[in-house]
């Protein structure tokens, strides 16, 4: 087993994973089925639950009435009159929206009884398209609001209008970005228990929820309890999420309520139909990008108009898709002036949320397509336009106009490496020859800044500064860890990062072992999270690539303190000053006299068994907690600027595609991808993240889209129509390379790297297809790109 790459692998490969659906944490648990709306938009005139309640084996049935009687609306990220509950109450606003819950002795019975639930719907006109939802006479989703625009903010940083007035050229394009998911293997699972305590309800909930834990007070808010009355337990294994499972949280409230009515703990396991219908996805976006450009293709200012379609509700943390990349909205480019309009629109589609790359794939689709369009208009090579605009290596730390502070990087070197790895000049010659013979071959580039370790303060930006409460700002990018040593010298590491399969335990084990001079077998990571016992705060969780930059920083701080205690204990045994000691090879030894040594475990044993021998006043503590709290993550400023992430990595993708003229099949002939995630902690896991992000990007670029009919019926509700790329579609020549420009802000110089290609590759592929088909008069302004889409584009282009 020692040959396996990760400490997690043995259990996972032998079926010993501890996924929540395999576990039975609360005895006597009943099973729930959720009744969902078949209508995209309908008023609920009444709900008759009696027939379902009378069915043998049914313990409880709850609907809008029970929800309204006990729950409060979830606190939203912005003040807008869009009350959001875990079920529909007045109206249903998307197909698949929960309207009732049946609790029974098993899932079959629960689904049988669910068919007896009678909801009296009055169907209403639905609106799904973003542009139509913004029309003044569009069907209004939330009766108390004036329009379907849930948030609309405008920001100006620098002299934008002046730059556009002076500009020799203005390049302006509109694009749209599709709605897609990351499709985790395991769907949502919640086991919830409601108990009435002396001080009010006490909720215990087991869920495959991985954060952000800012959603814990949101759940508690809906239940009307303090956050500490909600005990949230997350199992060691989560079968993937990529952000999608953050939206399991409304079901925690719902199943807690179901448990209150059933008088027993309640389990709900989401099935794939429910997941595809109503879980979560990235938001789809309409956008216009406009650049003020000089003759040489240098951009002096940018105007960005973003409209996200967030579905039926502004479900927290939305509208964060608009703001996650706020500090890096000018991307890899030294652009001093930017104007931003950021809107989120509600429509009769399912709510959106985190999805690997969160906001990045949407942003860079616009920005990087625009850079290519600038190159085309100026008659320049797209690589050259990027060279002329990118932030230079001696400009770091680099402050962006919107408040980002890029910590480190060498964008030019990374791009040159990506180009060299495809032999770019030769490739362009090959392309010229291919074009001569009528072939459709294209080369696409994307150069993007990859933000990691989100500063959750950006959520505040959706609220205008005059409405933000003074001294109640939001910020933070912290991670927490507890390290303990047992009497045999075995080190336990308790992580608050809630991994979804990334291998956090392996990296934590290796780092602590190296730091304490121990064999890796003596370090035992634990990744179950229990809010009652694991150190955590609001910003905890597995999202925005936080582990590498943040958790490892906390880990070393805690390990340092453990090392100090061990050295003091060893100094008693060795009768030498602790400052002269070092930890190596499982021993504590005198640095300049290795023969004078005691075993690490003997030093640990002394602290446990014989603390009386420690120096007077020294605390016999072999448990250390640390919270890495970078001061660079501040709340949004009064001028609306924010450093929206702690670290900013970089990705350069160069992709070569060829399109078959008969079938219009798109083949990726080569992808050269260079990532700079600062210090590399584990090469194998980093490559795994790169491969995973590439596969996800491939889905969005070529295969996957959550489509709806105009009436709001989902048209990709099963895997027959929602097409995830499989291994057969994900095999192509890849050259993955890396630069390491360490972050000065994290302990090891590491930055996050789980999302880079999710952000860069969709647009790199779009740029390649645009390059391939430009001569045919085809413009690429949206995704996904597949034969049917290309057929339409080519037919339309030919017709005009």
């Amino acid at each position: 087993m020692t040959d396996l790459a990760r400490v997690e692998d043995a259990a996972l490969l032998t079926g010993q994973g501890r996924f929540l659906d395999d576990l039975d944490p609360l005895p006597g648990t009943l099973v729930a089925a959720v009744v969902r709306s078949p209508h995209a938009h309908a008023r609920i005139r009444g709900a008759d639950l009696e027939r379902a309640r009378r069915m043998p084996g049914v313990a409880a049935v709850i609907g809008p009435e029970e929800v309204l009687a006990t729950l409060k609306p979830f606190p939203l990220s912005v003040r807008t009159p869009h009350p959001y509950y875990p079920t529909a109450t007045d109206k249903t606003r998307f197909v698949g929206e929960p309207v009732a819950v049946v609790v029974a002795t098993d899932r079959y019975l629960a689904e049988d009884a669910a068919e007896l639930v009678e909801i009296d719907y009055e169907p209403l006109p639905a609106v799904v398209r973003t542009d139509l939802a913004m029309e003044p006479d569009a069907p209004l989703l939330h009766d108390e609001s004036e329009s379907n625009v849930a948030t609309d903010r405008t920001f100006v940083f620098g002299e934008v209008d002046e730059a556009f007035a002076r500009a020799r050229h203005v390049v302006s394009r509109s694009y749209s970005f599709p709605r897609y998911s990351s499709t985790p293997m395991e769907c949502y699972v919640v086991v919830a228990d409601w108990r009435d305590g002396v001080e009010g309800p006490e909720i215990t909930a087991h869920a495959n929820f991985h954060g952000p834990f800012s959603m814990a007070p949101v759940v508690a808010g809906s239940l009307g309890i303090p956050t500490s009355s909600l005990r949230l337990v997350v199992p060691a294994d989560i079968g993937g999420s990529f952000g999608i499972k953050s939206a399991v949280y409304p079901y925690i409230s719902l199943m807690a309520l179901a448990s209150k009515h059933a008088g027993r703990p309640v389990r709900w396991t989401e099935d794939r139909l429910e997941h595809l219908l109503a879980s979560s996805s990235g938001s789809d976006r309409l956008m216009t990008f406009e650049a003020a450009v000089d003759d040489d293709g240098v951009v002096s200012a940018l105007r960005v108009d973003l409209v996200d379609n967030v579905g039926g509700y502004l479900r927290p943390p939305e509208p964060s898709t608009l703001y996650r990349c706020f500090g890096n909205i000018t991307g890899a480019y030294a652009i001093d002036a930017v104007g931003i309009r950021a809107r989120a629109v509600v429509s009769n589609k399912a709510p959106t949320g985190l999805n690997r790359g969160f906001g990045g794939q949407q942003l860079y689709f616009g920005l990087e397509r625009l850079i290519d369009d600038i190159a085309r208009e100026r008659g320049l090579d797209p690589a050259e336009v990027r060279r002329r605009n990118m932030v230079r290596s001696d400009d770091f730390p680099y402050a962006t106009p919107s408040g980002g502070i890029y910590d480190s990087g060498d964008y030019h070197r990374a791009l040159e490496l990506a180009l060299a790895n495809t032999d770019y000049e030769r490739l362009r010659e090959e392309q010229a020859v291919a074009r001569e013979s009528g072939e459709w071959m294209g080369i696409g580039i994307a150069t993007i800044v990859d933000p990691s370790a989100t500063n959750i303060g950006y959520v505040g930006l959706a609220t205008p500064v005059q409405d933000r409460t003074a001294r109640r700002g939001k910020s933070g990018s912290t991670e927490h860890v507890r390290v303990t040593v047992d009497p045999q010298g075995i080190v336990s590491v308790l992580l608050g990062t809630v991994p979804q399969g990334q291998g956090h335990a392996t990296v934590a084990r290796d780092l602590v072992a190296a730091h304490l001079g121990l064999p890796v077998e003596h370090v035992r990571p634990r990744v179950e999270l229990d809010t009652a016992t694991t150190p955590w705060t609001i910003s905890s969780g597995s999202y925005s690539s936080r582990f590498a930059p943040l958790l490892t920083s906390a880990l070393l701080e805690a390990a340092d303190r453990i090392a100090e205690t061990i050295k003091v204990a060893a100094s008693v045994l060795l009768e030498v000053e602790p400052e002269r000691l070092e930890l190596a090879e499982g021993m504590v030894r005198v640095a300049d006299d290795h023969d004078r040594a005691v075993a690490f475990r003997h030093a640990a044993g002394l602290v446990h068994w014989d603390p009386g021998s420690l120096p007077d006043g020294f605390s016999a503590r072999l448990y250390e907690e640390a919270a890495f709290t970078p001061p660079q993550a501040k709340a949004a400023s009064r001028t609306d600027q924010i450093n929206s992430s702690l670290c900013y990595g970089f990705v350069a993708d160069v992709v070569v595609v060829r399109i078959d003229k008969e079938t219009l099949t798109l083949r990726i002939e080569h992808l050269s991808s260079v990532h700079d995630a600062g210090t590399i902690l584990n090469q194998t896991l980093l490559e795994g993240q790169v491969h995973g992000a590439i596969a996800q990007a491939l889905g969005g670029a070529l295969f996957e889209e959550m489509t709806y009919s105009d009436a709001g019926q989902p048209t990709a509700g099963t895997f027959m129509d929602y097409l995830c790329p499989t291994s057969a579609e994900s095999v192509f020549p890849l050259t993955s390379d890396h630069l390491e420009t360490p972050s000065p802000l994290t302990r090891l110089g590491a930055k996050g790297s789980g999302e880079g290609s999710s952000m860069s590759l969709p647009v790199a592929i779009a740029n390649a297809v645009a390059d391939a088909l430009h001569a045919e008069g085809v413009e690429i302004t949206s995704l996904p790109l597949h034969g049917n889409v290309l057929h339409d584009l080519l037919t339309t282009a030919k017709g005009t």
Partner: protein, 302 residues
């Protein structure tokens, strides 16, 4: 995603199976590759499931004269791998396209044909080969030609009380060659467009018959002998593959225009399907013709 309640029986003989099917609302289950998802989604809710997997007489794959007889529980993968299926080359060309290996290990040949998905491979193969379906019920046994068997999307000539007990596939004759191709967005998906082709070169002038799938409610058979003859007139009787594909492509678009009869969906509009069919027809008719002439050469060898 749990099935609604149903009764379940597992009879041991065809007589008992058809006896059970005489009950109202009974449904045959064999490999379950189409039916189980339908049950789980509650899109179908038969009162009685008649599991035929214990009926040994239905598990027969046998050669009888000029026919290959495939029993109701014969798995797709068994047909693919069994030496007997070499006599029906079109089946061997088509089966690798049916789902994935795991699906073919459970899914039955007759099940796929009885399910009659308009974009499935095996119904098109049956039509192209002019196979015969053997239906059993308490009323006796009857035979239905494949071209009359498929009556619409997911509907066939099988009556509610009948079992598709056997499909009878004609074995290839000398001078016959076959082609099969399809296009899907991903490996293993149902086809957006596909063709099965049989060419006969034995005789004065070659005959070509194809069946398109994924382009209408039912498999669409067509005689394309004229297309092939016109192409051969242009190329001569022993063309290279590239030359023949090129010559066929001239008029393949017209054939495709007539054959594609679907409203289309988000994966492929009717126009895109025509484009695909046109390419597939040219390639696979050429391929079948070249194989047929080769098979004729082999026959003529001493």
């Amino acid at each position: 995603m749990k099935a609604a309640p149903f009764a379940y029986v597992r009879p041991g003989s065809v007589a008992d199976v058809v006896g059970e099917l005489a009950h109202d609302d009974a449904k045959v289950i064999a490999g379950g590759q189409s039916l189980v998802p339908v049950l789980a989604m509650r899109l179908g809710r038969p009162g009685l499931l008649v599991d035929i997997n214990s009926v040994s007489e239905l598990d027969r794959l046998s050669r009888e004269g000029d026919s290959l007889r495939v029993g109701a529980t014969v798995r797709q993968r068994r047909l693919q791998d069994d030496a007997l299926s070499a006599a029906v080359p079109l089946v061997r060309l088509a089966l690798p396209w049916v789902g994935h290996r795991e699906i073919r290990s459970r899914g039955t040949v007759c099940g796929s044909i009885a399910h009659a998905d308009p974009s499935a491979e095996l119904p098109a193969v049956a039509c192209c080969l002019e196979a015969t379906m053997v239906l059993a019920s308490t009323r006796g046994t009857r035979e239905v030609p494949a071209v009359d068997f498929f009556t619409g999307a997911l509907s066939t000539a099988v009556e509610p009380d009948e079992l598709l007990a056997q499909v009878v596939l004609p074995v290839a004759k000398p001078g016959e060659g076959f082609g099969f191709g399809e296009f899907a967005r991903r490996h293993g998906d149902f086809a957006l467009a596909g063709v099965a082709v049989r060419v006969r070169t034995h005789g004065a002038s070659p005959e070509a018959r194809l069946t398109c799938f994924g382009v209408s409610d039912v498999p669409v058979p067509a005689d394309v002998s004229a297309l092939l003859r016109a192409a051969l007139d242009a190329t001569g009787p022993s063309p290279s593959r590239a030359a023949l594909v090129c010559a066929l492509a001239e008029d393949a678009g017209d054939v495709a225009r007539d054959l594609v009869d679907t409203g289309g969906d988000s994966h492929a509009s009717p126009a895109y399907r025509r484009r695909l069919i046109s390419g597939l027809v040219a390639r696979e008719v050429a391929s079948a013709y070249l194989k047929a002439t080769r098979s004729e050469l082999e026959r003529d060898k001493p």
